[in-house]
């Protein structure tokens, strides 16, 4: 059982019970706010949960379930996923999808299917209409499937039209916006994990005094030349 005490002015103290900080940090990573709830800091736990998860889910919605995916291949090194992984369990399905589709397999939770057609500049990956997919007739022998949190199917080449390019084309700026939201959610959860592990960065009375003293010293240094200027003016007149 670990407890942190922050002495405040007038003999007051702020006490934070961290219980098992390692376990709390792990829980905080797994599910934003869970570490704080384990520490019985319910208000903060709820605040972290609402803020971080809502940002993550909103981002995922903006990007139509495609902005969180794990791909570290040449031409599509998804560094954003490393940040998004900070949100914990909610980002983990991307790893499952990545493993599932590694050798050209179909992802879980298929969002749509695409025609890989044409070549060169005329190449396209249009979505197959849902009624064609439902009936099963008229489907090309080979389709690319977009999966929820799955990496883009097919080869990725910056000089060619590919599925990733189609995502950007179809979603416009929402793809980047969704990615940004999920990245920020992951990074914010790192702050929450730190808070669960070490407690909040509350200033103690001693630290406050030091800061105040520094401020006064600075102010004094600024005021002193002014006063010197005033006296010289007065003596001059």
């Amino acid at each position: 059982m670990v407890e942190v005490v922050y002495p405040q002015e007038h003999g007051k103290t702020v006490r934070v019970e961290l219980r098992d900080p390692y376990w709390a940090a792990f829980l905080a990573w797994m599910w934003p706010g869970a570490g704080h709830i384990y520490q019985r800091r319910y208000g903060k736990g709820l605040l972290f949960m609402v803020c971080i998860l809502s940002i993550f889910i909103f981002g995922l919605w903006l990007g139509r379930g495609r902005v969180v995916y794990a791909s570290f291949e040449r031409g599509d090194f998804r560094w954003q996923y490393i940040c998004q992984l900070g949100a914990g369990l909610v980002a983990l399905p991307a790893i499952v999808q990545s493993v599932k589709t590694r050798d050209g397999g179909d992802p879980f939770l298929v969002l749509c299917e695409r025609y890989p057609e044409g070549s060169g500049m005329g190449k396209s990956f249009r979505q197959i209409p849902p009624d064609v997919v439902d009936s099963g007739s008229g489907l090309p022998s080979r389709t690319y499937k977009d999966g929820f949190m799955a990496p883009p199917a097919g080869p990725i080449d910056q000089n060619e039209v590919d599925v990733l390019g189609m995502w950007h084309f179809e979603m416009k700026h929402m793809f980047e916006m969704g990615t940004l939201y999920c990245v920020i959610a992951g990074l914010l959860n790192l702050l929450a994990i730190y808070d669960a592990f070490t407690g909040p960065a509350i200033l103690t009375a001693e630290q406050r005094e030091k800061i105040e003293a520094k401020k006064k010293k600075k102010k004094g240094a600024v005021d002193a030349p002014d006063r010197a200027g005033d006296t010289s003016q007065r003596s001059g007149s």
Binding site: S54, P200, A201
Partner: protein, 71 residues
């Protein structure tokens, strides 16, 4: 008049700036929560952070906007 027509695309892209609002609120609240333990202190700190972030964004916006008139 011509100058106004030139900045019309900017007005169109201004709608996108609303996407920053939920982010700024969430960031302010989470940052405030890492600096304090009690909800009243967290809210005060978050409000201050929000003003800082929005103010900083406004300054950057003003600089970029004015830079657009520089020829």
């Amino acid at each position: 008049m011509n100058e106004l027509i030139e900045i019309l695309p900017l007005a169109n892209s201004l709608a996108k700036i609303w996407f920053a609002l939920p982010l700024v609120i969430a960031i302010s609240l989470v940052y405030g929560a890492t600096r304090h333990e009690y909800m009243s202190d967290i809210v005060i700190q978050s409000y201050r952070s929000l003003i800082w972030v929005v103010g900083f964004m406004a300054i950057i916006f003003a600089i970029i906007f004015l830079a657009g008139f520089w020829n």
